[in-house]
């Protein structure tokens, strides 16, 4: 009796494991429009009203608890933000005049104004519940013109990209997700006058009108594109999980990169993002002994744990 029960248990386990492996194989080999993604999209649509309702009900409680436990740091952060606001308002005035100058230059060269990328504002209605994926749900979908792969920004910085779309909802994979990678370009805070690039080799930029106006702002804030022997310093930033700094790879040892440098999207050919979107700040640069590439960490500009409203750029690499 006991032996037959054990045999039965093993039989059930083998059947379930085989079924699981089959599902994994079919899912891995399937296309983005396959049945599994459709099931996932349907499940998200069903869960969304409950998610929104509970999130709205619990958010004040969560905010109260967060404020109670972090009062000191919130006060310090508030003071810091006030100082940064004053500095940003000053820079904004300068950037506005430089944007006007850039418009004139581009008009003379018969190019479309950079920053004419249409956007759709979306509210964050849910957080991803899995620990191995960093995602958010927003309340706009294909009915609003969203498509998979479109960049998502907030408060002037890159947030991530749209990874799945249903009629009224979309899922955005965040910058710190380990599966997220973006090409970046280093913008150094140098003594070069604002608005002028110090490097000669701005090659490989994908299609002129593809950069957004924030790229002009990144340069107008006194930064310049870093050049090293005539080449722009580019790399690929990859997420390392929630709360962890992003890792920038592909930068050769000897490149002029230092802590505090800012990174923007490179917009190189075949990139999924237009150039010039602010991404983050370099927090550490380390040259491992004997390595050919630098080990660089960066912190995103946007606070990914406190997103309320985002902007989806209706942009794709094909259309520019």
């Amino acid at each position: 009796m006991a032996a037959s029960r054990r045999q039965n248990n093993r039989f059930v386990l083998v059947v379930l494991v085989l079924l699981g492996v089959t599902l994994v194989t079919l899912s891995t080999r399937g296309s983005d429009q396959g049945i599994f993604n459709k099931v996932r999209a349907y499940a998200r649509q069903v869960a969304d009203p409950f998610q929104s309702a509970v999130h709205s009900a619990l958010e004040p409680v969560g905010n109260f608890l967060y404020g109670a436990f972090n009062y000191g740091s919130l006060e310090r952060e508030n003071q810091l933000l006030r100082q940064e606001l004053v500095a940003a308002q000053t820079a904004q005035v300068q950037a506005a005049s430089e944007q006007a100058q850039a418009q004139q230059v581009l008009a003379q060269a018969h190019l479309d104004y950079l920053g004419a990328v249409p956007t759709v504002a979306a509210q964050v209605v849910g957080l991803g519940s899995a620990n191995f994926e960093q995602t958010i749900e927003v309340n706009r979908g294909s009915d609003n013109g969203l498509a998979v792969g479109e960049p998502v920004v907030a408060a002037g910085g890159l947030v991530g990209s749209v990874s799945s779309v249903s009629a009224h909802l979309s899922t955005v994979t965040l910058l710190d997700d380990p599966s997220f990678t973006v090409g970046v370009e280093v913008v150094s805070r140098s003594s070069t006058p604002a608005g002028k690039a110090s490097g000669k080799g701005k090659t490989g930029r994908a299609k002129g009108p593809s950069s957004v106006s924030s790229g002009a702002a990144a340069v107008a804030n006194g930064g310049s594109v870093v050049s090293s022997g005539g080449a722009v310093v580019v790399g690929a930033a990859t997420g390392q999980g929630a709360g962890n700094a992003l890792s920038v790879q592909g930068v050769d040892v000897g490149a002029n990169v230092k802590r505090g440098d800012e990174l923007v999207t490179s917009g190189l050919q075949l990139e999924h993002f237009p150039g010039g979107i602010p991404v983050g700040t370099v927090t550490s640069v380390y040259a491992p002994p004997g390595a050919l590439q630098l080990s660089i960490s960066m912190q995103p500009f946007v606070d990914l744990g406190d997103l309320q409203v985002v902007q989806v750029l209706l942009w794709s690499a094909q259309s520019g």
């Binding site: 006991a2 029960r5 039965n8 248990n9 059930v12 386990l13 379930l16 494991v17 079924l19 699981g20 492996v21 089959t22 599902l23 994994v24 194989t25 079919l26 899912s27 891995t28 599994f36 099931v39 996932r40 499940a43 998200r44 869960a47 409950f50 998610q51 309702a53 509970v54 999130h55 619990l58 969560g62 849910g126 957080l127 991803g128 519940s129 899995a130 620990n131 191995f132 994926e133 995602t135 990874s163 799945s164 899922t171 994979t173 997700d177 380990p178 599966s179 990859t238 997420g239 390392q240 999980g241 929630a242 709360g243 962890n244 744990g305």
Partner: protein
Amino acid sequence: MNGRSGNVAGKVALVLLFGAFAQTTFGADLRVDNVAPDFMMLLAVCAGIAGGPQAGALAGFGAGLLSDMFLQNTPFGLSALAACLAGFAVGWARANLFQPSPLLTPLIAAAGTGMGVAIFVVAGYLVGQAQLVAPGKSWLVEQAVVEGVFSAVLALPATALMGWALRGASGVLASSAEPPADALGPPRPSRASARSRRRRRSQARARTLR
């Protein structure tokens, strides 16, 4: 027999759906150091504790499938595989190694959840999901430990819930393990068996006196 199985399956499905609701609503907001609890893995492990290896495997597979519906970047079926194996392993350990108790159940749930996380990462890596190991070993260990702690805290009520779900219409646990055991302690002898033991003792005494 079929009615009892259907009753058990219905109750287990209800519990798993409730777990999925909890995971997708307030589960995402209950984060400690950016790690959220995994209610579905907890239910799979508790099914193993309450019902044995077969119950753990079946409930784990169902819980994992529900989890997979809300994931984005991993193949469909990966969570089902991980939860099924974790539920079976915990159920097997419960049937062959120890009797659950109110003190031991949280530890088993924590260990089972940690094992489920490890199986998920290893199986995912084997099918090409390199992003699961990209953040490094210390991050993965932190995930497993924090999820384990969440499971330990919620183990007793979750095991009671799965125990209720796995009980058939007659009140007997639909378990594939021997001997059946209550995760909240060993079962007390029934009144009927105590009465029959007293009757046998009094009969034996009467025979001795004669």
